[in-house]
Amino acid sequence: MTKADIVEKVYDNLGGLSKKESAEIVELVFETLKNTLEQGEKIKISGFGNFVVRQKKERVGRNPQTGDEIKIAPRKVLTFKPSQVLKNAINP
């Protein structure tokens, strides 16, 4: 499933909107999610899951090809925790 499939469903479920407008509104939803996460704020979608930005500390890793030690800089990463509802739907 891609964004285009989602646009199609929004178009079907919402009368009175053109395909182009449907695509714009879907784009707006994802852009809003991205802007929120970019600010470090978490997103909670009941029935789906939570998106959380986590701060990772600096650590020493290893290049698996050469075995060389490398320093991995502190960074922020995004994690997704699926809701129980989604987990159950996937795992009937």
Binding site: M1, I6, V10, T36, E38, F48, V53
Partner: protein, 92 residues
């Protein structure tokens, strides 16, 4: 940000009423959840991709009591952050 707050933002930005904004947001997350329940991969360019991963059964331990527990084979959703969002989250 909760799903309700996301719906409010979409309602304001598009000059939509709340009901329509709610349909849009619910359609998006329902569509993604249903695709995952079918075992389908979901790819939203710039945001990330979701896929269903299979986990084998294993013997684990309750970390509180030390008691041995049997964990059944399961399927679980896995999210990989897209390149654009990964960079935006880290730079924030």
């Amino acid at each position: 940000m909760t799903k309700g707050e996301l719906i409010d933002i979409i309602a304001q930005r598009e000059g939509f009423n709340l009901k329509k904004a709610e349909i849009v947001v619910n359609t998006i997350f329902d569509a993604m959840g249903e695709a995952l329940a079918r075992g389908e991969r979901v790819e939203i360019r710039g945001f990330g991709s979701f896929e269903v991963r299979e986990y084998e059964a294993y013997r684990g331990r309750n970390p509180k009591t030390g008691e041995e527990v049997y964990v059944r084979a399961k399927r679980a959703p896995f999210f990989k952050t897209g390149k654009e969002l990964r960079e935006r989250v880290d730079l924030s």
